[in-house]
Symmetry: C2
Subunit: 178 residues, 2 copies
Amino acid sequence: MEERTVSTTKPWTGRRISVRVDEVEREDGHLTTREIVEHPGAVAILAWDGERLAMVRQWRHATGQDLLEIPAGTLEPDEPPAETARRELAEEVALKAAHWVEGPRFYTAPGFCDELMHLFLATELSESRGESDEDEMLEPSWMTLPDALDAIDGGRIMDAKTIAGIGWLARRLRSAPA
Amino acid sequence: MEERTVSTTKPWTGRRISVRVDEVEREDGHLTTREIVEHPGAVAILAWDGERLAMVRQWRHATGQDLLEIPAGTLEPDEPPAETARRELAEEVALKAAHWVEGPRFYTAPGFCDELMHLFLATELSESRGESDEDEMLEPSWMTLPDALDAIDGGRIMDAKTIAGIGWLARRLRSAPA
């Protein structure tokens, strides 16, 4: 099923993302072009205090609106995802966690982008004097799991990683309540 | 919370996606740059026969592997999402549905991309003599819901729209079995 790259160009490189265009040959010999957004990868954190989940609302310029999401962020160069998760939890919601579990990983948009999202569950939370990222303006809040699931199914949570993450947490808590 | 666009450039335009770079001013006067991948939007289809879900496995060049996903596809210019969903269901898994429900919509990667994903539930399925898209090689299969949820939580389904969609279907069937 694999496609073999015949030639590759990099028509644009930005600050965080870049574009690669591969000419590929399929197993049946058919040639086609694949446009790929290269992304460093990211983390998303389910910060769970036993009753509520830490959420952030922020302006998402690409979408022209603000969105309600779980804390998340992009991997810095050579940064292990678990370290990114600790850093973002402090920066975005001023929390630290004594207990971490690594959840499933998934691709946000595999049709055209290599971004791999690493999900983490953070529990035994306490306050942290976080350094905030000056490039972001965030409005933190807390949400119960039933409210979060209602918000997903009612279309008030519109972020894929948040939807995927909360679904995973709900199944996990149902099978082994924390 | 809104960011006001001060200037905008389009450094690269591809066949399906393009890149826009906006200089933006935040409410506090801070200036920053947002790199945005422009995408036409897409659909994903939960084709449910009452016991199983139609799935497709395909090579995802961006990820360097093949992925198991629900049928999906990109909106053609001026194509209503419901029409895209009907077209992709026929093209990808050779099915048509007598009953359609529009599910929640979500952004796959709102930090840098405007792709809006429209979820559809398709039931009362029958075979369709579909025109396949010669740019895609797909391996269709069927999966029960418990198997699909196990595959998500076990990391064998790694596609965000598929994870989000199956979670929504599982909650819907639990509250009102089809």
